[in-house]
């Protein structure tokens, strides 16, 4: 019986030719709708014309802003550091710990012989290299201002800053008395205040998650943390890229600033 049947895949089979024909028509119509008709209905000049409409709908990269007012330059210097995961890859980019230790002699009077001190300066021992490097570069470019730090970084080369960052990142962290781990975690640190647009501190700075460029805050002096949070909140400090930290600090209440500073300061 099968021998009498026409071949299945052949245009002499009316079922085959009808279904393939219908699908082809539908395909051509849909392609016309997606690549020509609907793009042309947009009022962008870049969608006008057959070729433009097809290429734009297919995703050809282009410049989609027509004439625009020129960009407004910043009033004060902003951070010019480019943070990428591979920024310390390579022998020289990674920095030399030994050379950094020699350069660090100029830092010891405030930051301690091994990166830890009681002078209300930030503890640098075990800090992320990217964070140290970014702040040093920002002090150099005056994106971050400090009467104390500005003269210290004059004349240091990019390699010097990388070496210093590598050295301090390699030092062991101050263990403290372990009391921080024992105290209850304030709400602002653990869950933030989502209703007021404040992400938890820990989502960038802590044990929960870290973000490139955001410093480790464990066991930093309370006065330092509080003054920096307030400086971010009032705009006095503005070297955070695209206002990342100012957006957070501005929405924090004084109680939240106190609670988070005390938590990260441990018992210092």
């Amino acid at each position: 019986m099968n021998a009498h049947r026409p071949r299945l895949i052949s245009f002499r089979n009316p079922w085959f030719s009808a279904s393939v024909g219908a699908i082809s028509l539908l395909f051509l119509f849909s392609a016309f709708v997606g690549f020509v008709w609907l793009p042309s209905a947009q009022d962008d000049a870049l969608f006008k014309g057959l070729l433009n409409a097809i290429c734009s709908a297919a995703g050809r990269p282009g410049a989609w802003l027509g004439e625009a007012a020129p960009a407004v330059p910043p009033k004060a210097p902003v951070s010019s550091v480019v943070l990428t995961p591979g920024m310390f890859d390579g022998a020289s980019a990674g920095g030399s710990i030994g050379r950094g230790a020699t350069l660090a002699l100029r830092c010891t009077m405030c930051h301690g012989a091994r990166g830890v001190s009681a002078a209300n300066t930030p503890d640098l021992a075990g800090q992320y290299a990217a964070s140290i490097y970014k702040e040093l570069r920002d002090f150099q470019s005056a994106a971050r201002t400090s009467a104390i730090m500005a003269p210290m970084v004059v004349g240091l080369s990019d390699q010097d800053l990388r070496d210093l960052s590598a050295y301090y990142a390699a030092l062991p962290r101050d263990g403290g008395s372990g009391e921080r781990k024992m105290q209850p975690v304030p709400t602002i640190v653990a869950t933030g205040a989502p209703m007021r647009n404040v992400a938890p501190c820990e989502s960038c700075h802590g044990d929960m998650a870290t973000k490139l460029g955001a410093p480790w805050l464990g066991l930093q002096p309370r006065d330092y943390l509080k003054s920096q949070l307030e400086a971010f909140a009032h705009g006095g400090r503005h070297n955070d890229i695209s206002a990342q930290m100012r957006n957070i600090a501005r929405n924090m209440t004084p109680d939240e600033i106190n609670a988070s500073a005390s938590y990260y300061a441990g018992n210092r």
Partner: protein, 189 residues
Amino acid sequence: MAQTFSANSHDTAALTARIEKRWAFLMVGIISLLVAVVIFTSLHWAMMPPSRVETINPSTLHLSGEFVESNLGSAVEPDGSITVRVVGQQYSFTPQCIVVPSKTLITFRVTSADVIHGMLITGTNINSMVEPGYISTFKTEFKQPGDHLMPCHEYCGVGHEAMWANVKVVDKDVFSKMALNTRRLTCDF
């Protein structure tokens, strides 16, 4: 049973052919309906998937170009339209409070400095991915003044739930007065 089946094989073939024909018409009908829905929503609701592809280096947004911090916010263009530039990054939008006039053509230019975010303006059909490396451009017009929320609606990390911004649509005249004092408007602070 097999006997009965083979005896009526001609009827069965005709029945099968009829069912298949109906099925084919139904399928073509469903597909046509879907295409028609796409056409209608695209033309009348502007629900078109954005195909304005434009690339940018996400790690150097802050160094130069239109996404430097001082250029973010609403800009009045020479033709009277408004361009709003926004950067999304873990875990906030900058500016956090966007101010735009009503009854004016608004062009949004949004990009991300780190991971994939989303932006959605409640009460409008604005809903877009914000991807690192790409600039999302879309145009809209707000009919009347009012406040809208703009949450990030793509999970972007552990602080995702705290990432949102405000969109304040103000009267055209109020906006013009605000625009006299500054070149880039936001309602932060």
